[in-house]
Symmetry: C2
Subunit: 210 residues, 2 copies
Amino acid sequence: MTMKLYCFGESGNAYKAALAMELAGLEWEPVYVDFFNGETRTEAFREISIQGEAPVLVDGDMTLSQSGVIQQYITDKTGKFAGAPEDKYEVLRWVLWDNHKMSSQVGMTRFLMNFLPEDKRPAPVIQFMQGRLQAAWTTLNAHLEGREWMVGTGITNADLSCCSYLFYPEPFGFDRADWPHIDTWLTRISEQPGWKHPYDLMPGNPSDRA
Amino acid sequence: MTMKLYCFGESGNAYKAALAMELAGLEWEPVYVDFFNGETRTEAFREISIQGEAPVLVDGDMTLSQSGVIQQYITDKTGKFAGAPEDKYEVLRWVLWDNHKMSSQVGMTRFLMNFLPEDKRPAPVIQFMQGRLQAAWTTLNAHLEGREWMVGTGITNADLSCCSYLFYPEPFGFDRADWPHIDTWLTRISEQPGWKHPYDLMPGNPSDRA
């Protein structure tokens, strides 16, 4: 049975899982979650994810949420994106760093700046988050100086986690031109065979609601 | 050689690592990091953690940062806190959920509400974060209804990650009395042999700076 990813195009967290499956060459299909109309809060969706999380991967009897968990499952299934055995902790470190210091803040800030009605956008919160995000991008850009990949000599879950939100076109305070090492690395990822932009890989994008 | 944890009492992330080592019965010693006077930004500290992160665990040749990585290392070393093999993804899910949806926001909010000078505390940001945190505690409290532990039948890294900030006394919008299932679970954790409060387990606490 084909694996199903409950996802929507705007979700950078869903993109981490979708991109991992796509680059690993797995058979999978997206199931559109109408997040912006409240689908994750419905009883039907709570049958799939009791916490109303997205993405959710369903593979036979296995139902998984949290993008980092789905990434680990794909690695266990395919042997891909783990890096060298001696780099295991370093890969996990960047996945956690991304969840802790970057994606959680980017996801929220991008939502506030783009997906709320203009008169509901909390300017002081957005401004505060910009400062935190500049610090995260400074860390990421410095780490990538002189490196092709986040960890070791090939693409790992560290890359797939950290890159995800940075491919989105909506404004959230990130401009690739300001961060040359991040920019080169994102280009390198996008040149991987099978790479697709989030809006080409998953259903749903802001123009659907325009 | 005794393992060294670079830490400070106020850090809930450091507490996750310290508590894991203490409950596992490992020999370790804390090395105080004077975070509030900028030690993590010094050249000397950057020799230990290039990104200026705390906690950092040094065990012989191994230097690890991100609390979730240190927790995994302790599990690999001792076999403790992993849960049953079939619960591997569920334990990781809660560690990631905590990093992504709870600790990152609690840590920041508690800092803004307690460790910044009173005239520098950004009220709109604090108010906004309270809403996010109420959602996290609602999720946690609902999950713990009818459960002794976050996952399976014993204490795991999911408990050690999710509990950490909730033992701190400073105000950050969390009152145990509002969340009965969280409250019972925190009591259960604190009754584990060897449990210590963060300010008893690690050097440094707010009264040092009063």
